[in-house]
């Protein structure tokens, strides 16, 4: 089996694919928990691109940026999940359509 050598393009296509799958989940899932997980997946796709360019340029700053990205993702997950709990208490549902109006 002869495989072409792995280049930066392979990693970028994979990174874009993960981002696109996450975007698909954010747009089409009705379950707000899976929407939040798809957001994490989109962040991970972007992180993969950061690490890929860090490797190709032999520069560690991309990896440092991924650190910050992971920390911000953790903060985002904590706040988003607490909003989700408040929403579930108010509407008794995890369907995003239950929160389509801002009244009350």
């Amino acid at each position: 089996m002869s495989l072409t050598p792995i280049t930066v393009h392979h990693y970028l296509v994979l990174s874009t694919l993960l981002f696109a799958i996450g975007l698909f989940g954010v747009l089409f899932q009705r379950n707000i928990i899976i929407v939040l997980m798809s957001l994490e997946l989109m962040l991970s796709g972007a992180n993969l691109a950061f690490v890929t360019f860090s490797r190709t340029h032999a520069n560690l700053q991309g990896q440092v940026m991924v650190f910050f990205s992971i920390a911000v993702a953790a903060a985002e997950a904590a706040v988003a999940l607490s909003i989700l709990i408040a929403l579930f208490r108010a509407r008794d549902s995890v369907n995003v359509d239950a929160a389509s109006d801002l009244k009350g």
Binding site: V13, L14, G22, L23, F28, I33, I34, L41, I70, N95
Partner: protein
């Protein structure tokens, strides 16, 4: 060897991501996302970001997804909730977003394919001047804990402190949002 690692971990990540997005119940979704993040951690290790690979498993697959599991447990969803969550709705703004997402992905893939066929000397024949080189031919980079800590605690000290403040704000915000109002 490098190709085996890339296609193995990359395929694992993509398949697990698809299964997560299409999951019927959020519990299955979380477990597939753990598999996906382990695949991404493997790719990080293949890119010589060894410390980030460990952080990805510990913080993402460990801490953040356990938080998701706790919330799912806390919500106490009924079976009716789970079966209602299956469908996608293609109406409204979703269809536009889907079109934009597909077009954007097609644009990147086209650019990469065209860029992969350009002449390395003249730079003609593609839409990008990026010349593909095998990752194994790149100059080496060590991403251990010591190497990453040097820029993190010198050049990026101020952003590091700002992130710690952000995490504190997130903790306080999460507690304030979820605590029950006392009468």
């Amino acid at each position: 060897m490098e190709a085996v690692v890339f296609y193995g971990f990359g395929g694992l990540a993509v398949v697990a991501a698809l299964l997560m997005v299409l999951a019927r119940s959020p519990l299955n979704g979380v477990l597939w996302l753990v598999v996906c993040f382990v695949g991404i951690a493997g790719l990080f290790a293949a890119l010589d970001a060894h410390f980030l690979a460990a952080v990805q498993v510990l913080v993402y697959a460990g801490a953040i997804l356990v938080l998701f599991l706790f919330v799912i447990m806390l919500l106490n969803l009924r079976p009716g909730d789970l079966s209602r969550l299956t469908g996608f709705s293609l109406r409204g703004g979703g269809a536009w977003g889907f079109g934009v997402g597909v077009l954007g992905f097609a644009a990147v893939v086209t650019a990469v394919i065209l860029g992969a066929h350009l002449d390395p000397v003249t730079g003609k024949g593609g839409v990008t001047t990026l010349v593909p080189r095998a990752m194994s031919a790149m100059e080496p980079l060590s991403g251990g804990a010591v190497e990453v800590a040097v820029p993190l605690f010198s050049t990026y000290l101020l952003p590091f402190e700002a992130v710690s403040l952000l995490l504190l704000a997130a903790i306080v915000g999460a507690v304030a949002l979820t605590k029950k109002r006392l009468p």
